[in-house]
Symmetry: C2
Subunit: 239 residues, 2 copies
Amino acid sequence: MSATDFDPIVDTTRRAEIVSLLKRAILTGKLEPGQKLNELRISEQMRVSRAPLREAMRELVQEGILTSIPYAGTFVIEVTAKDIEDSYSLNQVLDEFAIERTWPNRTEVFFAELDRRHAAVKQATLEIDTSRQIETALQLHGLIYEWADHPLLLDTWQRLTSRLQMYFALHQRARNEPVPSLDVHEDYVRLLKGKDMKAVQRHAREHIALDFEELVSFARGLEERQAGRKPGSRKRTEN
Amino acid sequence: MSATDFDPIVDTTRRAEIVSLLKRAILTGKLEPGQKLNELRISEQMRVSRAPLREAMRELVQEGILTSIPYAGTFVIEVTAKDIEDSYSLNQVLDEFAIERTWPNRTEVFFAELDRRHAAVKQATLEIDTSRQIETALQLHGLIYEWADHPLLLDTWQRLTSRLQMYFALHQRARNEPVPSLDVHEDYVRLLKGKDMKAVQRHAREHIALDFEELVSFARGLEERQAGRKPGSRKRTEN
DNA sequence: TATTGCAATATTGTCGACAATCTGATTTTC
DNA sequence: GAAAATCAGATTGTCGACAATATTGCAATA
């Protein structure tokens, strides 16, 4: 090994750029659920041809945040209360597993990173940009997946995270307040540093349940409003 | 609602066609791990332009069975023993959850389908085409996911299944025998019809463990042989 | 009036060609 | 002779144009 370790060069292809732009737009709620993505318009706005845009969209379809109907269009996924419930229940299962796997890997570096991310969460609560709060909270949460030494699990969770981030952003956008539960992180971090693995698992189960409670009821409200103007199943065409 | 319910029209786009062709080729082992996919060659063989082919490849990259390096190429994923172990451990976790979710949904229709798939497995053992055995076994196994009423879980499992199918196919291709454990399915089906959910979960944990044991040791062998000629990290170039 | 048929338009799917990048061999330089 | 520079070939990434398909509005019809 050489004296210094270098990170791999960033792959700078238009496609990758487009992916992150689109993803950001979707996860922050700038592109609303159900909205159609007009290829020509977007490619013109981005000053890019449709080829890399379409490839990027294929990726996001497979990632689960877009859905495509041949010859009809590609749309941001709709969000139902059941979607959120499902994400929640799967998240519970994965969390428990991730904690189990990460448990023996908690080195000093781990704890340092844990503190760093926890601080970032607390910092974000002071900022104006509410989406930062979601982002930092999810990053704190993701630590147990990154240290699980289980790429497949990490990948699975990241896919799930995309949806979670979208749900939280939607909620935040509708009401103008962040999802509650901020001091819970204190307990979470403290438990992760402790010796009782089961306690962390229990805590993850319960504390996250709180956040979701709010989300689900929010989604139910959304659905009822949607159901009201459902007949016709309109598709929005803007951007 | 009309008198009869119609299924949606099949979407027949070249891209979708290509996806299933490529996927089949990879999952049956016709395309080997590490192998590079030459876009021009494949597009000519399929009599298709590179655009839909590339889009199809993007999907499979996201699906996790291809990996792409910008300006270098797209390759079939390599298979390490750890990959298989990880797939196995995640599968265990998901199985337990799927069984729990499916448990209350076991209607008569479920049992009928269970028997049908079990029969298909037994049928496949008689056939020459060994890949059918893998396919039917995985389909039997997938039933608990299809009946879990949890699209996200199903999606997650299907992604996992792609890998599993690939692993089994690799094993089968190297040695010329199927993975053992055929009568285990008898117990599995019987338990699924019973009243003890925990028993099914336990059984899933243990019986699947057997299959994987063989796979992992097989992969270890592969790795050692690869390690021997590793220096240079050669990439195969044939189709 | 509701439904069907048809034309016009918009949008997605696909193609062939060009540009950017990598790879490997050859030449140059020390 | 070995390392660096250069160049040709091959391959991937991107582009603009065309083909296939869906949608919309209006007229025709019962």
